[in-house]
């Protein structure tokens, strides 16, 4: 390690923070640690920096964070790496109510390519964001949790308000395949009256035991023989597709003393058939806007396949 150069680097970084530190003093400390105490180089650097930070009462984050200012500006749909530091420019699509004391704000931010959940922690001391306004989130961390990506804003992050309007992308995806399963959590469910989350065993993750509101939905798995696609089909479409109304479903469940009968009914009437679905993609799921059952054989395709097979023989 070149002591002079390292000392200069340290001095330069501190002067960016508005502190003038004597170069001799830095050199002396480095020298002592390296030659007398035989401390490893990076440890010596750390130790000297920390000494001056303490001396001048500067937080570690403000010293180190600007080193990470060169994080890439990314589009939401391109986020794919757990632990990656990025900057994201987008519009606040939704702010959620949050009850956790260490969380300041939580919600969804969206750009042209999609939306992602973000969490702004209280100890990050960042300004408030408002729904429908555009911001750049600088230096935020991508985390993968439960197979979903989310953004975390921490002490080293910053928020810049932007003037431009961003159209949040609802990239519509279409998928054709057989419905091969209906997952648990489908059929007749109850939702939390406060936050609309689906209840598990009569309790909301956020609000505990609540008097739930009935709803009907399907979490289905579609499969085209090459890949699978999970999809969420909401109440209205479920009612049409399975020819059942929410009231019917409630009555069916009451009759059988079991909500599971609705799931069984859906499984029986819908599973094992071919469908084409389309809708916007949120994490693993397509939120289905349109669905129709495939019934007609594509005759041109059949003729094509036959001639393809004849060529291969």
């Amino acid at each position: 390690m070149d002591i002079k150069e390292t000392a200069n680097n340290i001095r330069a970084r501190f002067s960016e923070l508005g502190l003038d530190i004597s170069i001799d003093e830095i050199e002396e400390r480095l020298e002592k640690l390296l030659t007398k105490f035989k401390v490893p180089e990076d440890e010596a650097y750390r130790s000297v920096v920390n000494y001056f930070l303490k001396e001048h009462n500067v937080s570690k984050n403000s010293f180190y964070s600007s080193n990470q200012f060169d994080v890439p500006q990314m589009k939401i749909s391109d986020l794919s790496e757990d632990g990656q530091w990025v900057s994201i420019k987008g519009r606040i699509a939704q702010l959620w109510e949050n009850s956790h004391e260490s969380i300041d704000q939580v919600g969804l931010i969206g750009d042209e390519t999609g939306v992602i959940k973000f969490t702004k922690w209280k100890n990050a001391n960042l300004p408030e964001v408002a729904e429908d306004k555009t911001y750049t989130f600088k230096n935020v961390v991508v985390n993968e949790w439960n197979e979903k990506f989310q953004l975390n804003l921490n002490k080293t992050s910053s928020i810049v308000e932007e003037d431009d309007e961003i159209e949040i992308g609802t990239s519509v995806i279409t998928f054709t395949g057989a419905m091969v399963d209906i997952q648990t959590g489908s059929g007749l469910i109850k939702r939390c009256p406060e936050c609309n989350r689906a209840l598990t065993k009569g309790a909301c993750n956020e609000h505990g035991k609540v008097n739930g509101i009935y709803d009907l939905r399907i979490k289905a798995v579609f499969d085209d023989g090459f890949s699978i696609q999970e999809a969420i089909i909401g109440r209205e479409m479920t009612e049409k597709l399975a020819d059942i109304s929410l009231d019917n479903a409630v009555a069916m469940a009451a009759d059988a003393l079991d909500q599971g009968v609705v799931h069984e009914h859906l499984m029986k009437t819908l599973n094992g058939r071919y469908y084409t679905i389309s809708g916007s993609k949120l994490e693993r799921y397509i939120l289905v806007d349109e669905i129709y059952m495939e019934t007609e054989l594509n005759k041109e395709r059949l003729v094509e396949l036959i001639s393809k097979a004849q060529e291969l023989v």
Partner: protein, 190 residues
Amino acid sequence: MRGYVREVAQRIFAQEFRESNLSFKDGDDIYAPQYLLTPTAAKVNRLFIVGTLTETEDIGTETEYWRGRVSDPTGSFLVYAGQYQPEAAQMLSECETPSFVAVVGKPTTFTTQEGDIITSVRPESINVVDEGTRDLWVMDTAENTLDRIEVLDETQPNIVKANEHYNTDKKYYVELVLKALESLEEEVIR
């Protein structure tokens, strides 16, 4: 770390399924998924079948154990459901024959005393469907099988493995597909 990833349901005609006998595990631990490698190198941990349920029979001794035959234009699949597949077993016990059914299930193999390997299906679900769905499946499966046959000269490990084990005759499987497609064609024209 990526969590659990659901296995894709492969499309295989009955005859190719019956001629498959190479099963293996991906990895060493006891929870590693089991696969059946078919002659056209489909790596099957789950399959989707639509065909005609032609026979059902309770072959259990103490508890019910149902066997169903599901046939497609090339042959038939054997489907076995017992106490651990209660919905499917009930379905087989109630279902009229013949009727069109869709089956999602896992491939299983059984070795006879003579050393022959018999393949069958352990159903996750069985649905009564209509003829249209069956036709779509035949075309879907024909397309998938042709796609596999087309890449059979490539050098991916599973393709090499399938060729070595079965010495796959491409022409034979193309003819199988053709037979299935022609059965559809007759029906569509009819």
